[in-house]
């Protein structure tokens, strides 16, 4: 008797999981907010992801950064650059077949910009030189990759951990050479 009850429970669980996975898979869109970046880095980062099929998805994320500590470090010369924004189109490939929870890899581009500082020599009106800090803006394009893990609750709320990095390509005498791509996203799938 116990054996039959156990088997019935397993079967129920399995069909329930199947049903849950199929409900999730039927929802093709997701919006996300990065909780970790907001708390740790003062960066407000939102994403949209479109699921093309069970393996691939594409999306775009954007972030603005406004951290008082980072601004202070930049002003005091501890950091050469102060990232302000990024726009990241991405493509993802799911490594596991479950729609409820799975690992994925991501390739992304990042159009990013902010402020940078450098010490320059100027001449004053009396033709004497002096060194002073000059601030200016930078923009650059980075390419990068990341790995992540995604988990769904109640077939619509997603929790996603992602870690990776990108490398700026064109303007690294002013922009940061490496940009981190780290987040803990809380999402809603619909």
């Amino acid at each position: 008797m116990k054996k039959w009850i156990f088997l019935a429970l397993i079967a129920f669980q399995f069909s329930n999981a199947q049903e849950s996975a199929s409900i999730i898979a039927s929802k093709k869109n997701e919006v996300k907010f990065d909780v970790l970046s907001a708390i740790a880095f003062g960066k407000y980062h939102v994403s949209y992801e479109r699921f093309l099929n069970k393996d691939f998805s594409v999306g775009i994320s954007g972030g603005i950064q406004d951290s008082k500590n980072q601004k202070e470090d930049f002003d005091k010369g501890y950091d050469r650059s102060l990232p302000k924004y990024e726009i990241n189109p991405f493509v993802r490939y799911a490594l596991s077949k479950s729609a409820k929870n799975f690992y994925f890899v991501e390739a992304f581009l990042s159009a990013n910009g902010g402020k940078y500082r450098e010490i320059k020599r100027f001449d004053d009106s009396a033709a004497n030189g002096y060194y002073a800090t000059q601030e200016d803006n930078y923009t650059d394009l980075a390419i990068g990759g990341a790995i992540g893990y995604k988990l769904y609750m109640k077939e619509k709320f997603g929790l996603e951990l992602i870690v990776g990095a990108g490398k700026n390509l064109f303007n690294t005498d002013k922009s940061p050479e490496v940009i981190p791509h780290v987040g803990l996203n809380f999402g809603y799938r619909f």
Partner: protein
């Protein structure tokens, strides 16, 4: 669950790494080289009871190699003073050198001296002459062979560093040399 923990640890590690990426360097500093800004008041011979003086007396306008205009170091540092370090060593019988502790022995004449095994000399700006002035003497109390070392570790570290009031102004480090020195040391004998 284990995988989530591992991934979370990886995130924390990369986040820590990325957040301190630029911190190894300090971007408000400027390094330049201008020779002969520190002087030893050289005498042909020294005797017990003499004083060996070290001084600076350089203008706020310095000729910077490679530049066509003089460098205004006062304006660059927003009026900061400049410091350098030096000390005295005595030669032992086995030809090794021992640092002589000069705490409370140095004679301050211009600027400030913070004495000890390593002396920190502070060159103060004199608005009347528009020069950075420092002068302090080492009383020579015992006969022997001596040398003065400059910088904390070796001669290559001999630099005048600005003592900025504000972290937001430019820190200027001037690598310089001393007159009558050999490999960064000033050698002399006290009879």
């Amino acid at each position: 669950m284990k995988n989530i923990k591992l991934l979370f640890l990886a995130i924390v590690a990369i986040a820590s790494f990325s957040s301190c990426g630029d911190d190894d360097e300090f971007y408000n500093s400027k390094y330049i080289s201008i020779p002969d800004l520190i002087k030893v008041e050289h005498q042909p011979a020294y005797a017990v009871g003499n004083v060996l003086w070290v001084n600076t007396n350089f203008s706020k306008f310095l000729a910077e190699p490679g530049q066509t205009t003089p460098l205004d170091i006062f304006k660059t540092t927003n009026g900061a003073s400049f410091s350098f370090s030096y000390g005295l060593e005595k030669k032992n019988a086995d030809n090794s050198w021992t640092i002589v502790d000069l705490e409370n022995k140095m004679i301050e004449n211009q600027g400030n001296i913070f004495d000890g095994s390593y002396n920190i000399a502070e060159c103060i700006f004199n608005p009347a002459t528009e020069t950075y002035q420092f002068r302090a003497g080492i009383p020579l109390e015992q006969a022997g062979s001596y040398r003065i070392f400059f910088g904390f570790t070796d001669a290559s570290r001999l630099e005048l560093a600005s003592n900025n009031d504000s972290e937001k102004s430019t820190y200027l480090n001037i690598k310089t040399t001393v007159n009558n020195s050999t490999d960064g040391f000033y050698y002399f004998t006290v009879e």
